[in-house]
Symmetry: C2
Subunit: 212 residues, 2 copies
Amino acid sequence: MFQVRDGELQALLWERARAPFSGCWSLPGGVLGEGETLEESILRHLETKVDVSEVAHLEQLGTWSEPERHPERWELATAYLGLVPVGIDPHVPADTRWHRVDELPPTAFDHGAIVLAGRERLRGKLSYSNVGFALAPPTFTLAELRDIYAAALGYDVSATNLKRVLVRRGVLEATGGRRTHGPSGGRPAEVFRFRSRSLEVTDQFAVFRPPS
Amino acid sequence: MFQVRDGELQALLWERARAPFSGCWSLPGGVLGEGETLEESILRHLETKVDVSEVAHLEQLGTWSEPERHPERWELATAYLGLVPVGIDPHVPADTRWHRVDELPPTAFDHGAIVLAGRERLRGKLSYSNVGFALAPPTFTLAELRDIYAAALGYDVSATNLKRVLVRRGVLEATGGRRTHGPSGGRPAEVFRFRSRSLEVTDQFAVFRPPS
DNA sequence: TAGGTTTTCGACTCATAGGCGATAACCTCG
DNA sequence: CGAGGTTATCGCCTATGAGTCGAAAACCTA
């Protein structure tokens, strides 16, 4: 589970009280039940940590199978990538905390590598899809969206260019409203929203394609 | 396993002799052994069908977990995408055949959907990576490479543009050799090869990025 | 109403992609 | 050996999308 918090990309982890990896931080999840779908299972285990209705996007990341990943048992793990919009502060249990992806604490198993794989997946999709909807609140100004993209991508982003690109692609649309920033004044910003709140991929990256 | 054969993208399938899905066509694979990596397992099962040293690229595609996918048992499947270069004609058992992905025969389980998911993954990566190396022979002319791309992508491709794009990206390089086409004459074509024969992703698709 | 602040717009440059005709370099056949 | 056919390649053009930057717009406070 990823969320942009305090201007940085953070991941939800819980601290293990028992061996193996006691004291290390671990991804939320658990054992797959018989006759259960992987996605059902993820949501079932997630419910013990957060309100799953706040998860705006969920997709399968991959399956890790190295036998050494677990010191005691032979156990595969299928990881999912989940995104929570900014502005939501889900209630989490005492052993569970958000951690900056850039400075992960010691992690259990291969969970550190899985988190980094999830970040790369997210970064790629931000460029060629509308996944941003799952990180952004329902409506937002361009400055706010720029900060979200910058946090997730890890580098500065120009608000001018971000708007042009996303509007041209039909990903963003103006709500018509305006919002003023704070006590310091400044021109009120236009308020935008994502046209769709389900994953859509930009087809423009199909290269070598003759314009039909 | 995909290969471009007779100018079309084809997938390797074997015909089931026993229930369930007797007479339907099935993906090569089998049950994961204890303490085995998924990739090791795939290669082990594949060895009974083809010479695995001819597989130029192998990557995990995803894990399918719907309980209804198997009529008798509860069974997950992790699928891999493998690519074999043109020109190789691996010896396969009697029950195993290549099938055009565009006209799949009746398939067992959800294997039809898995094949189509693999094709989409391949099509995407052809645009933003050098995966072509795994479909092309060691050296080739541009006309040959164009035909491979056209077969995999499903639409015509211009050789002029293909060369320009792949050379600019540093994916292709000329060997210096030339090759003449056949009895009908014509200017001899330049011979190319892929600069690298392992997967490399074009970074140009990271949009919103200021040129550092 | 002046000055500060933030947002937005427009003009420009740049890089990559795609189209098309011209030319190059081979063949075969008379 | 030259004419005509065939295939490959190159050069020039256009189109499109991305990135930069400065100017103007629209708010605030003093």
